[in-house]
């Protein structure tokens, strides 16, 4: 069975500092990988996704993620965060034969001024 682990429930970081949010998955088959963001009191929206091709994926708002098949990871990074990045970030995975998403527990990004 597939599972997704987001290693940190909260990540505090100073404004303009870089950040990495970690995501590991377990699956014996090929997968698609997603990062979604949920701003306070809103629904989720897609940040970026990996389907195939280049392992470095660029998304909205300056975020990027790298697919590492050998480490079964899909970590999210941003070189310089802003107060507006305060949100909950969710990693998700689906088998490439199935559109049901398996979700991680979420990581709360806290930006310190």
């Amino acid at each position: 069975a597939q599972s997704v682990t987001q290693l940190d429930s909260q990540v505090p970081v100073f404004e303009e500092a870089p950040v990495e949010l970690r995501c590991n998955y377990s699956s014996s088959v090929s997968v698609y990988l997603f990062w979604y963001v949920q701003y306070p009191n809103q629904g989720l929206q897609l940040l970026l996704k990996y389907l195939s091709g280049s392992t470095l994926v660029k998304g909205i708002n300056g975020f990027e993620a790298e697919f590492n098949k050998s480490q079964t990871s899909f970590h999210l990074r941003k070189p310089s965060v802003h107060i507006s990045d305060t949100a909950e970030y969710f990693c998700a995975v689906s088998r490439n034969s199935n559109y049901q998403l398996i979700w991680g527990a979420g990581t709360k990004l806290i930006i310190k001024p």
Partner: protein, 113 residues
């Protein structure tokens, strides 16, 4: 124009009552979903419909019943509400293929007293 809309946005009700949440999408998508997000932000898939046909029916109490009158609408009816049903319920839609992005509504915040 809102892509995925839900009504109501807030719902406060007493235990034992029956309530419905409505969802509509104007994206022309074939697949719609209901998710439950608990107080710890954990997301749980409840149901999914593809072209009005139920395709995902996770382990939820049978007090929850989805209804899809057409491809653009997916409603959620809850009978005999319990305290543990308090959560945020999200509707989402997607074109339906593997790897497709899911588009979320703003959520319905249900509080059962």
């Amino acid at each position: 124009d809102t892509a995925v809309s839900q009504t109501p946005k807030y719902l406060v009700t007493q235990m034992g009552n029956d309530k419905s949440i409505k969802c509509e999408q104007n994206l022309g998508h074939d697949t719609m979903y209901w998710y439950k997000q608990d107080s710890k932000k954990f997301l749980k898939i409840m149901f999914s419909y593809n072209n009005k046909e139920l395709i995902i029916n996770e382990t939820v109490p049978n007090r929850f019943s989805p209804k899809s009158p057409d491809k653009a609408h997916l409603n959620l009816h809850i009978n005999s509400l319990e305290l543990g049903d308090s959560a945020v319920y999200f509707c989402a839609s997607s074109p339906g293929g593997a790897g497709e992005t899911q588009y979320f509504g703003p959520g319905t915040r249900l509080l059962v007293l």
